[in-house]
């Protein structure tokens, strides 16, 4: 008996340790068909080889535990399909998880105040959901470095056996993380706004979506009867995808995006002179007439004639101007339109417009301007996110804006992950199904319907605001505008 116990002890230990990690699987959860052979090799090629690839990112001296299925698998030479229970092992590897949510973000990119506040907030939220932040959350600072992120991912998978990953905040990290998530069959929530997730059961994109916001703006423009809009944006802009989405909508004729250097006003001058036909060759005779007219007038009045001050009246053949830039440059651009004789041209914009400084001084050309955002009123934010408003409920101090954005998005991702974890125990690879079903707590903010659309894109609302009278006003019925159609995976 003693000998049997001695022999079986390691197995017993392995079972004891991995019992909470192993989730029950039902037949539908099983992505591993029983039996070996072709399935084994298929599974290895589609999934298991990537575990081995990820293992290369483990540090030298990494301690393997023979009892753990993931470590056992790594010890297999080749696909191990010649062994009878290899497929079972595969099953256990992709199922094993520790009820831990990994949050991998480039914290060093944000001010220390912001990420400390974010971590604290998320911990509070997780605790409020009946989970233990110390046990159920793991935080990693990727530093925005791919190598670091992969090394960290390896640790998360082989050491901590995480259940889900939330990350991919940067355009560099997002595709890499999503590929790992897909290949390793680990539910992965990508946060980068511009990322187009691959069609994968395991990868989800959560957060504001430039395409969606652009669609909202286009819908608004259509409603206003705009047929043609000009788009201008600064060089090295991070909102190129917004511009692309506007151009790609094909519902309204677009000019541009016309690109300028915000540090060099001359580049803006060139754009406006072109856009408003101020230097067109066809208008040279008109300019000559104007010069002569003012020359005569100056002579009559006995004053010096300065041709530099003369400009033809603008020819405005667009219905609106979209400025894909932050509020600071928007103020400059809106004000400088007067210089070209352009007044009351409708202006449209993006979330980066939203700051108290957009409206704290009256600007005629901004009156009635509209911009789209992914945050509604700051007064009643979901997840108990708090922010002190400035002047009205739609504005907060700029220094708070990034914190609120991050808390909102990360908390929403964590909420989805927590929902997926809290249900009946399921193998890790099957958690994606839970994610597909998760509904937002705060329907007032996020609207009705699941957090994710069938294509695993975020079902994030858009909000339109108009500018005027020193305030921002939410346009009625503007939230959750047209959702692009998506096919389920």
């Amino acid at each position: 008996m003693k000998a049997i116990i001695r022999k079986c002890f390691p197995l017993l230990l392995a079972f004891t340790v991995s019992a909470p990690l192993l989730a029950q699987s039902d037949g539908t959860d099983s992505i591993v068909a029983s039996g070996g052979g072709a399935d084994c090799k298929r599974i290895y090629e589609s999934t298991m080889q990537y575990y081995k690839a990820l293992a290369h990112f483990l540090p030298s001296g990494f301690k393997y535990h023979d009892q753990l299925p993931t470590h056992q698998f790594l010890k297999l030479s080749g696909d191990g399909c010649e062994l009878f229970d290899t497929v079972d092992l595969y099953q256990r590897v992709v199922s094993l998880h520790s009820q831990k949510i990994a949050i991998m973000l480039p914290f060093n990119r944000w001010p220390a105040v912001t990420h400390k506040a974010l971590i604290s907030h998320i911990k509070t939220y997780v605790a409020s959901q009946g989970l233990d932040p110390e046990k159920n959350l793991v935080w990693l600072d990727t530093g925005g470095q791919i190598q670091t992120m992969q090394e960290q991912l390896a640790q998360l998978v082989f050491s901590q056996h995480i259940s889900m990953v939330i990350g991919g905040a940067t355009t560099a990290e997002a595709p890499v993380l999503s590929k790992w998530g897909d290949r390793l069959r680990i539910p992965t929530l990508i946060l980068n706004k511009k990322f187009d997730p691959p069609r994968s059961r395991f990868v989800f994109r959560l957060g504001p979506d430039n395409k969606q916001m652009a669609a909202s703006l286009v819908a608004y423009a259509e409603k206003r009867g705009f047929k043609k809009i000009a788009i201008i944006m600064p060089q090295s802009s991070r909102d190129g995808s917004f511009a692309d989405a506007l151009v790609g909508s094909k519902k309204i004729e677009t000019i541009g995006p016309l690109v300028y250097n915000p540090s060099d006003y001359n580049s803006i001058d060139i754009i406006f002179k072109r856009l408003f036909h101020l230097n067109d060759d066809s208008r040279k005779p008109e300019m000559l007439d104007l010069v002569n007219q003012f020359k005569d007038k100056a002579k009559e009045e006995g004053v010096a004639f300065d041709q530099k001050g003369l400009m033809l009246p603008p020819e405005v053949d667009v219905d609106a101007l979209v400025i894909i830039d932050n509020f600071k440059n928007v103020r400059h651009i809106a004000k400088s339109l007067h210089f070209y004789g352009v007044k009351h041209l409708p202006l449209l914009g993006i979330p980066k417009w939203r700051a108290p400084e957009l409206v704290d001084q009256e600007e005629e050309n901004l009156s009635g301007a509209v911009f789209v955002d992914y945050v509604g009123s700051y007064k009643n934010l979901p997840y108990n996110i708090k922010a002190d408003t400035v002047n009205d409920e739609n504005m907060i101090e700029g220094s708070e804006a990034s914190r609120v954005d991050l808390e909102l998005v990360v908390n929403h991702a964590v909420a989805a992950a927590v929902f997926a974890l809290k249900g009946p125990k399921a193998p890790r690879f099957a958690l994606y199904k839970r994610l597909e079903q998760v509904q937002p707590d705060d329907k007032a903010f996020f609207g009705a319907g699941p957090i994710f659309k069938p294509d695993h894109e975020s079902n994030w609302p858009s909000f339109l605001f108009s500018v005027g009278g020193g305030k921002l006003q939410a346009l009625q019925g503007s939230s959750s505008a047209a959702k692009p159609k998506s096919k389920p995976l």
Binding site: G309, G398, A401
Partner: protein
């Protein structure tokens, strides 16, 4: 003739045709003599009558009897030091008692040695002249007394006619009865022309020798004494040999009359005569100022002051003026640099560069010093008073003052973009579009577009009206360019603007003449201070002052931060640097400097108000500070100081100290603009 007559009479009588022989000879002789005498007497009377002797009107002598000597009008600085004199003819009055005795003796020796003995005529001299007339038929020998010369000078023509001589004699006799000898001599020695535009011996001493009468040596006295006979013929500057000959004659006469020892004659006859025309005080100390004084005096007294011997006390501070002269003349390196920077000028010369300056006590209105140009002898045009030049950015304080009165706060922020107003599209000096600034920062960095914006909101007419209230006299053009100082004005106009701000918002009343009196001390004019006119509230004046102190701390005059504690100022540079200004003030003193060219030549980019006018101003201010130690600018009630972010206008402990009206100013302690400035982006945490 007489002998013939007698002969004829004798022959008639001896022919016994008319009278008995013996007993009628004597009565006949007597009768004849009487008849001849009668006829002669009648003829003489007739002749004298025809000569006008009986038409002598004694009242004509009144002009001599009541003679008031002419005198140069003298100009003094505020502490009583003479700085100049005005005259049409050059007079220097010396009362008889003060005339050096040797001068009197020399004149008497050569002109009228028995002056104190006769009663107007020297009969011996007349007799000598009569004999000469009979012998030669001409008046060759002079017999005129000093008294006669005075009469001739005042009443008669100088022609040599017997009739004129008789009249002269008659007047001379009458004059002696009415006026004392000393007085006649005094008039003689002060009123007669002695060459080189001088009247009187003291004036002659100045004009011939550059000395006062008291400083003349006997050889020089002799020369002057010799001039009375013919100041033209004996003018030493034109006829030195004749003058020398005459001088020797005078010296001999002095010896002959016992006024000079024979041994002295040798010494003084060989003593060199050094003729000097002294540098005109008018041209050397404050020529432009004096020019202006003359003009003003003319205006006040309506031209009635030349030769009246007025005493004009001005506001000039002579010592300060001299220091200012030295500084402006000593700034050659600046002028040289400027000349090298001239563009589109063939053969640019340093002499083409001009400068002007004005210093005024804005509390009292006294003009303390003035330089109207670099070289009065080259150009008398007073650029400090009369040149109308564009002030450039020096005009901005006027616009900002008006904006502050209208409710603007220094902490208010503006976006600096191109703007247009009435087809006027101003450029910024350093192309600062797409940046942000508080108005405070925009002011001390002299950014253009914010001023134009403010000005267009206020209205150009209102700004021009405020300028008028401050005392600007030049008509400003009601166009947008005026807001950036494109409308020409004088330096005094600018002094009014800066003086108003420096004077706590009260318009200064500049003046140059304190008082004008006659030589006897009778006041004919005295400056009366105008009633105080408030143009700006004290709080606005103070806030404007602090902003101009910031020009030294952080702005276009930051090379001279040491002035910030007690001075305020503004640079001004017009298009192509044709005009380069610095206008500044302390608690009491406003001073302005301009550098440019009379022909409005342009300079290359190296030249600006900060590099041309400011260094000169700084040197001036060092001197002004020594003489008029500055008090601190007092903060009035209702103004507070806060530290504000200079670009974004929020309260910031590391910001720039700005003056604000109590209860006004920013309410926020941060700005999203800081995030954009520091990181280059906003709300892009998920866009990386």
């Amino acid at each position: 003739m007489l002998s013939n007559l007698l002969q004829t009479l004798k022959s008639i009588l001896t022919e016994r045709q008319f009278l008995p022989k013996r007993w009628t000879l004597i009565p006949t002789l007597i009768g004849s003599i009487l008849a001849i005498t009668l006829v002669s007497g009648i003829s003489l009377i007739v002749w004298l009558s025809s000569a006008g002797l009986f038409e002598i009107d004694e009242s004509k002598l009144d002009v001599i009897v009541n003679y008031e000597h002419s005198d140069n009008s003298l100009v003094f600085d505020k502490s009583g030091k003479q700085i100049g004199e005005f005259f049409s003819d050059y007079h220097v009055y010396y009362p008889y008692a003060k005339i050096p005795p040797l001068m009197v003796h020399a004149v008497l020796s050569i002109e009228d040695r028995s002056f104190f003995e006769h009663h107007g005529l020297d009969y011996k001299a007349i007799a000598r002249a009569g004999v000469s007339l009979l012998k030669t038929g001409h008046f060759r020998q002079g017999a005129s007394t000093i008294t006669q010369q005075v009469v001739r000078n005042f009443l008669l023509t100088p022609e040599r006619k017997l009739s004129r001589k008789i009249k002269e004699a008659a007047f001379a006799l009458q004059l002696e009865r009415r006026v004392s000898k000393e007085r006649i001599l005094e008039i003689y020695l002060n009123a007669l022309f002695l060459g080189q535009g001088s009247y009187g011996v003291a004036a002659a001493a100045q004009r011939h020798f550059g000395k006062t009468l008291d400083d003349l040596g006997p050889h020089e006295i002799a020369l002057i004494a010799g001039l009375f006979q013919s100041p033209t013929r004996f003018n030493p500057h034109k006829n030195p040999k004749a003058a020398k000959k005459r001088q020797l004659l005078v010296l001999k006469a002095m010896v002959a009359n016992g006024f000079l020892e024979p041994s002295d004659y040798k010494k003084w006859s060989t003593e060199p005569l050094v003729y000097q025309v002294p540098a005109s005080m008018n041209q050397s100390i404050a020529p432009f100022f004096l020019d202006a004084i003359q003009e003003q005096t003319d205006k006040i007294l309506q031209g009635k002051f030349k030769g009246k011997g007025l005493r004009i006390t001005t506001t000039l501070d002579l010592s300060l003026q001299q220091e200012l002269n030295t500084i402006l003349q000593g700034s050659k390196s600046i002028y040289s640099t400027a000349a090298n920077a001239l563009i589109n000028v063939k053969n640019p010369k340093e002499s083409m560069i001009e400068a002007a300056s004005l210093v005024m006590n804005h509390r009292s209105g006294e003009i303390l010093a003035m330089v109207g140009g670099r070289d009065f002898s080259r150009s008398q045009f007073n650029r400090a008073l009369k040149a109308k030049r564009a002030p450039g950015s020096c005009f901005k304080p006027l616009v900002y003052s008006q904006a502050l009165m209208g409710g603007m706060n220094w902490s208010d922020m503006t976006y600096i973009t191109p703007i247009v107003i009435q087809n006027y599209r101003p450029q910024n000096y350093s192309n600062e579009f797409m940046s942000e600034s508080t108005y405070f920062n925009a002011f001390y960095r002299s950014i253009n577009t914010p001023v134009v914006e403010l000005g267009s909101r206020i209205g150009i007419k209102k700004i021009i009206e405020t300028a008028r209230k401050m005392g600007v006299k030049t008509e400003l053009k009601p166009q947008a360019g005026t807001l950036l100082g494109g409308s020409e004005m004088t330096m005094t106009d600018l002094a009014q603007i800066y003086g108003t701000i420096g004077n706590d918002g009260n318009k200064p009343d500049p003046f140059m003449i304190e008082k004008i009196t006659t030589r006897n001390g009778v006041v004919v004019y005295e400056h009366k201070a105008a009633p105080v006119t408030r143009v700006l509230p004290p709080a606005v004046a103070y806030m404007m002052t602090m902003a101009m102190q910031a020009v030294f701390r952080f702005g276009t005059a930051a090379k001279y931060p040491e002035f910030a504690s007690y001075a305020a100022g503004k640079t001004g540079t017009t298009n192509e640097a044709k005009d380069n200004w610095f206008c500044g003030f302390t608690h009491d003193i406003t001073s302005i400097v301009w550098v440019g060219t009379d022909d409005n030549y342009a300079f290359s980019g190296a030249v600006a108000g900060a590099s041309m006018a400011l260094p000169i101003w700084a040197r001036m201010m060092e001197r002004i500070k020594d003489r008029y130690p500055p008090l601190p600018f007092e903060m009035p009630e209702g103004v507070v100081k806060k530290r504000i972010h200079p670009l974004f206008g929020f309260e910031d402990a590391n910001g720039v100290e700005m003056p604000l009206l109590e209860g006004r100013g920013p309410t926020r302690h941060e700005s999203t603009l800081t995030i954009v400035r520091d990181t280059g982006s906003f709300r892009d945490a998920l866009d990386w």
